[in-house]
Symmetry: C2
Subunit: 110 residues, 2 copies
């Protein structure tokens, strides 16, 4: 996966369930599968401009959702604390499997 922008990938990941099927298709091809606008246009038999407009509108929607719900921001903060916990546990209690596994389970929940 070539990442056009990491932020947009995360926002898409958090909010894709709020998008329409067409928005999801375009975004997924563009951001996850690294299709060009032209390739998506060909695939869906629409103009390159139509694809571009749809993706730009969707990006703006994702930013609006993030402004309201802050899921990406909160995720990043939790990950910081989980990382710190993991470092502490590995440094001091490296033999405590139960502790380490619980921290890792928490990390993977996201």
């Amino acid at each position: 996966m070539l990442e056009k922008t990491t932020r947009m990938n995360y926002l898409y990941d958090f909010y894709q369930s709020l998008l329409t099927p067409k928005q999801r298709s375009y975004m997924s091809l563009y951001y996850l599968d690294d299709y060009s606008l032209g390739e998506i246009a060909e695939e869906y038999e629409v103009s390159r401009q139509a694809v571009y407009d749809n993706i730009k509108r969707t990006e703006a929607m994702l930013e609006e959702y993030e402004e309201k719900l802050l899921l990406f921001q909160k995720f990043q903060k939790r990950q910081q604390f989980i990382k710190r916990l993991k470092e502490l546990a590995l440094k001091k209690y490296a033999n405590d499997q139960e502790l380490l596994e619980t921290i890792e389970a928490l990390e993977k929940l996201e």
Copy 2:
């Protein structure tokens, strides 16, 4: 705070930023401040039925958002693991302030 339903309180907490100001006002008076439908109707000079319909629609919207984004469900799972971590830490490493504080900071992030 009298809790009419705990679930609706949580859903309101997670998704209130996606509601209109009027929806927020009614929900907040009804669920957080424990106003009756009649009291809200009087406050806003509308019929009791109008308040009821608005609140029922809002509740359905909140459930739809939860179906899509699962914020409450994911929150509950994280809290389970954080609780288990805290119990482990208190049982085995009760003197490790740094560890306990990091777990508590994570708990409070929510």
